[in-house]
Symmetry: C2
Subunit: 274 residues, 2 copies
């Protein structure tokens, strides 16, 4: 099997700077392409920034689709682009969305289903499940940030056939014990191993209205180990790993185990109950 270079482009969107953020994403995509990437993940809400004053401000930064330029850049550089954007829904609601885009256009759009903190004051939670799209590199699944901390959601993505789960994120920096890895990365490692899939979580940088970030972009193997990242230094970073995405289709673990086939779904019923 051939491998593809997967890149997380950790950049610093600035809330309110629509044009500036387009330019930042463009530079990141061009930089990733120059570094040989075939799949590039951008952060959550890469078009708008994150720390909105209120829903009204978010609305001024929203659009019905991801930037058309992402498709153009995907075509020019033969990329699959995955990134978050502030979506103005046809229903009038705002969504914290992400899209997978290639030269042919928008392959899928996903609306974040689990909203973090003040996002609840701005966004409507999505009602769709994490999508999976088949690309020539393998099957790419999609969710956003806090979604990754709900093991049911990652399982849904795995059972839908995801090889590489792309997770645009904005991980606000929270206190953690001295010497400890950010818990968001712990979740990403556990989720990858529990489901035997690759995870590429692209975080952001750049303090925004007093909020700082983990800056913890990582690419995780189906065995749960870090294939790349997090960056050693804070700031913009390109985190890359060469992955054979088809490896995620073998869920075996040792001689007699298989992280998916070993499930006992007949016993899990109430997990879905409210």
């Amino acid at each position: 099997m051939s491998s593809v270079r997967v890149a997380c482009a950790q950049i610093a969107p600035v809330v309110g700077e629509g044009e500036g953020n387009l330019a930042r994403a463009r530079a990141a995509l061009e930089g990733a392409a120059a570094a040989g990437a075939g799949i590039v993940v951008l952060p959550e809400l890469a078009t708008s920034g994150y720390v909105f004053r209120d829903a009204a401000e978010a609305r001024t930064l929203a659009a019905p689709e991801p930037p058309a330029e992402w498709r153009e850049l995907a075509e020019r550089h033969d990329l699959v682009v995955v990134g978050g954007f502030c979506e103005a829904g046809a229903d009038g609601a705002l969504y914290n969305s992400a899209a997978i885009v290639d030269a042919s256009g928008v392959l899928t759009t996903y609306r974040k289903a689990h909203l973090w903190d003040r996002e609840q004051l701005v966004f409507t939670p999505g009602d769709g499940r994490p999508p999976v799209v088949d690309t020539r590199h393998g099957r790419i699944g999609l969710m956003v940030c806090y979604d990754l901390e709900f093991p049911e959601w990652v399982r849904v993505a795995a059972l839908s056939g995801t090889d590489l789960l792309c997770v645009p994120t904005n991980w606000p920096r929270l206190p953690r014990p001295e010497g400890e890895r950010p818990l968001e990365i712990v979740h990403a490692m556990s989720a990858a191993a529990a489901n035997g899939l690759f995870v590429a979580a692209c975080d952001r940088c750049g303090t925004e209205r007093g909020v700082d970030w983990v800056q913890g972009s990582v690419i995780v193997s189906p065995q749960g180990w870090l294939a790349a990242g997090p960056p050693q230094e804070s700031g913009e970073a390109l985190v890359t790993a060469d992955l054979d995405l088809h490896r995620a289709r073998d869920k075996s673990f040792g001689e007699r185990n298989d992280v998916i086939a070993d499930r006992r779904p007949e016993l899990y019923g109430d997990v879905t109950a409210s």
Copy 2:
């Protein structure tokens, strides 16, 4: 709220030494009591050892109940004892089981539902869900080793009201990247945080028929951080933490989030499908 000292007694059972293993568990329980513990977790299969030649050998080490002595020790030292034993079922099958015992007797017995590697050649997987028992310290849930790597199973335990999830384990040592924490501990941290509950995983030590162990007993907080362990040195160890188990009933995370209430169970349906 008052706190209770929870202890993981990492000991070295020896396969085939029924009387010797009873004595090892007794010494560990007495040591934990002397150290002020109120809840003591022993490893998986603490009565029998782990690396059986075959089912026939396991059968010679099986019993229908956990050792009667655990109840006596629980009474004498005012303990709740949690430990794994090799169960000879009334149905003629062998189970990789664990029990919670106090002065009043066996509060619950659980049969491991997800079997690891050669356990499949010896044991019948359990069909019961992880039990939860109410004690004066709080609600104690129970599962065994590999069970903990199935996020649905931990969620079932959380939704059943578990404050402290006790996990007798025998974690075989697997290769891991230099400097990395054992993945079993990564899973324990992620599971604790995703469900807002305490996890006490008691591992074993002592090379057995060529199999070595992680020796990674840990106690994890509902925020996902290590409250105690893993031991710095290999070998027998008593890992303890003073916990207010009722803290696990507050699932809030920041001002607006709650790791249980934020779930979207109406969207998770197929997670239970085979």
